[in-house]
């Protein structure tokens, strides 16, 4: 019998390919959004009453809210009544390891090529796989358990660790934070839950792999990560979706909580289906990600490589509440064809001596639009707060757009806030130089873009960085010429 390591190894070995669908019998909620839908989801997931109550609170908030209007793109028409809010592989049995997973599903993962570098000792990676709405398997659970680390699907956490979930759920992203967060609170399907106990340094990268498969579904996963005092965790998230003509909504919520001296590193490689070259289909990636550095000297670091989705709209943020806390945001966002990205970060300096660093690299090609939007806010108590922001835009061709909207609000005169921005084009001179050394144009562009994004890619764990590099090269194929 093959162990899960070998299987993941295998999965990781395969080519990246995402435009397929998997024929698995699905259990779907009736189309439409109302209280019955929410009760249906909650019942399917055999949730306790308090969880249902919380969902309904989210739904009440949602009903009162409007779509925002400040974004730098035309808001697509979203008919939330036409979606199905729950889709799960029909399988009731509790799954212990990847071996027990439906072979069809495994074949899907093989095609996906979970972004892990196979040459690395895979003993170091634990994967939680979220397929449509249900977390199908969490590997390495036992090993983590020995250290007291909890890494499981959100549903399991609700059942097995209700006190932790109740204590932290919605404390960083409240159920009424914004319309998509409220929607997620009402209908969230599954996601991952991580708790790192005091003094524990998680010995492996924790990884979740998301996949939207079913038609007419939205994916609303929810991730909650808590790093208790003096702990450390690095968490990876990768995503793909099949090619479909219609748009699909992905409205996830991620909450991070770092206590005293704790550190959370959260890395995303997002490769949702971007739609075709004319802008038909693709994922709307409207996600709320926020972390709070609650404890003193705590640290939260977001790294994102965004290459997919028709529209990427998110601002992974950090609230620096504890004194001496540190927040980081490293981002590469690539748009091509008709893709749109309106992304950036928000950093709230509340504690003294808090520091933050923002490095954003936008790359636009084709007819795409790439926006950096960022807020750095320094509160009155945040003496000696420091921020450094650098946002660079790289243009490929002359029909794409790059925009930068930095907002700085400082209410403490001892704070230092720096902002640097550059816009550049891939020069014909650079390409010709590389051509003259025997490197063809496509490879030359990949080399230049990878170099440009180097500072951010360096932040990714090694195995993820390799994948991200490949992804950047593949994404930009055919963008020049």
């Amino acid at each position: 019998m093959r162990n899960s390591n070998e299987i993941i190894d295998d999965i990781a070995n395969r080519e990246y390919e995402f435009g397929f669908t998997t024929d698995i019998e699905m259990e779907m909620a009736p189309v439409g959004l109302n209280e019955d839908t929410i009760r249906f989801i909650s019942a399917k997931k055999e949730e306790p009453e308090w969880m249902l109550e919380w969902r309904l609170k989210g739904f009440q908030a949602f009903k009162k809210m409007q779509f925002p209007k400040w974004q730098h793109f035309e808001m697509p028409e979203l008919d939330l009544q036409k979606l199905s809010y729950y889709a799960a592989p029909k399988k009731k049995k509790q799954l212990g390891s990847l071996d027990e997973v439906d072979p069809e599903l495994l074949a899907t993962f093989e095609k996906l090529g979970i972004p892990i570098n196979e040459q690395k000792a895979l003993a170091g990676v634990a994967v939680d796989v979220v397929f449509d709405s249900v977390s199908v398997a969490t590997t390495f659970k036992a090993k983590l358990q020995e250290l007291g680390i909890i890494f499981c699907s959100f549903g399991e956490a609700v059942r097995n660790h209700p006190d932790l979930v109740k204590k932290y759920l919605g404390t960083v992203v409240p159920h009424s934070d914004n319309i998509f967060a409220a929607l997620n609170a009402a209908v969230f399907s599954d996601g991952s839950f991580v708790y790192i106990p005091k003094g524990v340094r998680c010995p492996m990268e924790l990884s979740t792999y998301f996949r939207i498969n079913a038609e007419n579904t939205g994916q609303f996963e929810r991730t909650l990560i808590i790093a208790d005092d003096n702990s450390y965790v690095s968490y990876l998230e990768g995503c793909t979706a099949p090619r479909r003509d219609e748009n699909q909504l992905h409205a996830a919520v991620v909450e991070l909580v770092a206590m005293d001296h704790a550190e959370i590193k959260y890395s995303t490689v997002q490769n949702w289906y971007p739609g075709d070259k004319d802008g038909n289909g693709g994922i709307y990636n409207f996600v709320t990600k926020r972390g709070i550095c609650k404890g003193k000297s705590s640290k939260i670091s977001w790294t994102q490589v965004e290459t997919g989705s028709a529209i990427t709209w998110k601002y992974p943020s950090v609230i620096l509440q504890g004194d001496d806390a540190e927040g980081e945001f490293y981002s590469v966002a690539v748009t091509r064809n008709r893709q749109i990205a309106d992304t950036g970060t928000k950093i709230y300096h509340l504690g003294r001596n808090t520091r933050s660093r923002i490095i954003s690299k936008g790359i636009s090609a084709g007819f795409s639009d790439n926006t950096y939007r960022g807020l750095v806010q320094v509160g009155p108590r945040a003496a000696n707060a420091r921020n450094f922001t650098q946002c660079d835009s790289l243009l490929i061709g002359d029909r794409c757009g790059a925009h930068t909207f930095p907002y700085i609000e400082s209410r403490n005169s001892t704070a230092t806030v720096e902002h640097e921005a550059t816009t550049s084009k891939i020069g014909e001179d650079q390409i010709f130089y590389l051509n003259q050394r025997g490197i063809e144009t496509e490879k030359a562009v990949a080399l230049i873009v990878n170099g440009y994004a180097q500072e951010v890619l360096n932040q990714l764990p090694m195995e993820f960085a390799v994948e991200a590099r490949k992804l950047l090269s593949i994404t930009l194929e055919g963008s020049v010429g």
Binding site: G427, E428, D429, Q430, F432, Y433, L434, N435, Q436, R437, G438, I439, E440, T441, K443, L447, I448, N450, G451, Y452, A453, Q454, E455
Partner: protein, 254 residues
């Protein structure tokens, strides 16, 4: 190795080359001299395949192949190397990573397997010492923050690494102080051999004291108006270009 016949080229509709004829054989060192705007750098750009240059007439045969039919990268892979007058900077791409990519692209073209890291590093070390290139610059981003001299020396280092059949040095001496010039020239001299040919484009005779040419050609107004040996370079140094210009104009008016 290289035969240029009646080569005419223009850029933005402006005629730049007006019938160049030149024959370069293996092992030879050719110097191309000429006043500003005579078409020296344009000749190197046309040979390397820069996009905005249009060849309107003539042909160029390189090692039996019609050079003008090849893409810039295939010209490079066939063994044509251009040391740029103004090497570009590519931030974030390490010098070594770039060279490894280039070398392996060329090897793949010739159906050779890519070099193993170990062999590559061995080769790197050997060539770096040969042309006296600063080892600290090898892991830095390609030309980023390099001084003018360091950039030029990096061109010679790349030339050593990629080992082309024909190397065109486009004003490699410009912007170099005398020490750097000597080092660059020494590097080039070490790379000279019976199979390799060089075309050295320069304004000044100074470089040719260190790199001794077999032939000196004077380019003026898009044509080679005079060919000689290294003595011609000395004569130009002494008398300037005006007497040549006059000679040309007299011929034209006859």
């Amino acid at each position: 190795m290289l035969t240029i016949k009646n080569l005419h080229a223009e850029v933005d509709g402006k005629k730049i080359l007006k019938g160049i004829n030149l024959e370069i054989r293996k092992g030879e060192m050719h110097a191309i001299m000429g006043p500003n705007g005579s078409g020296k750098s344009s000749l190197s750009s046309v040979l390397a395949g820069r996009e905005n240059y249009t060849v309107t007439e003539g042909e160029v045969i390189f090692e039996g192949k019609n050079l003008l039919d090849l893409s810039p990268e295939d010209r490079a892979r066939e063994g044509l190397f251009l040391a740029f007058q103004y090497p570009v900077e590519i931030p974030g791409v390490s010098n070594l990573h770039f060279l490894k990519t280039a070398l392996n692209e060329i090897r793949t073209y010739h159906n050779l397997p890519p070099l193993e890291s170990k062999e590559f590093l061995k080769l790197t070390k050997e060539k770096q010492q040969l042309v006296d290139f600063n080892a600290n610059l090898m892991n830095r981003s390609l030309n980023e923050g390099f001084s003018g001299g360091e950039k030029k020396r990096n061109e010679v280092f790349q030339l050593a690494m990629l080992d082309p059949k024909l190397a065109i040095l486009d004003e490699t001496d410009s912007g170099l102080d005398i020490d750097a010039l000597r080092i660059v020239a020494a590097g080039v001299n070490k790379l000279r051999n019976a199979d390799k040919a060089f075309m050295v484009i320069t304004h000044y005779q100074r470089l040719l004291e260190y790199i001794v040419p077999d032939f000196v050609h004077v380019l003026y107004n898009g044509q080679i108006v005079k060919t000689g040996t290294k003595e011609l370079a000395l004569e130009l140094e002494e008398k300037g270009y005006d007497w040549l210009k006059e000679e040309v104009h007299q011929k034209e008016s006859v």
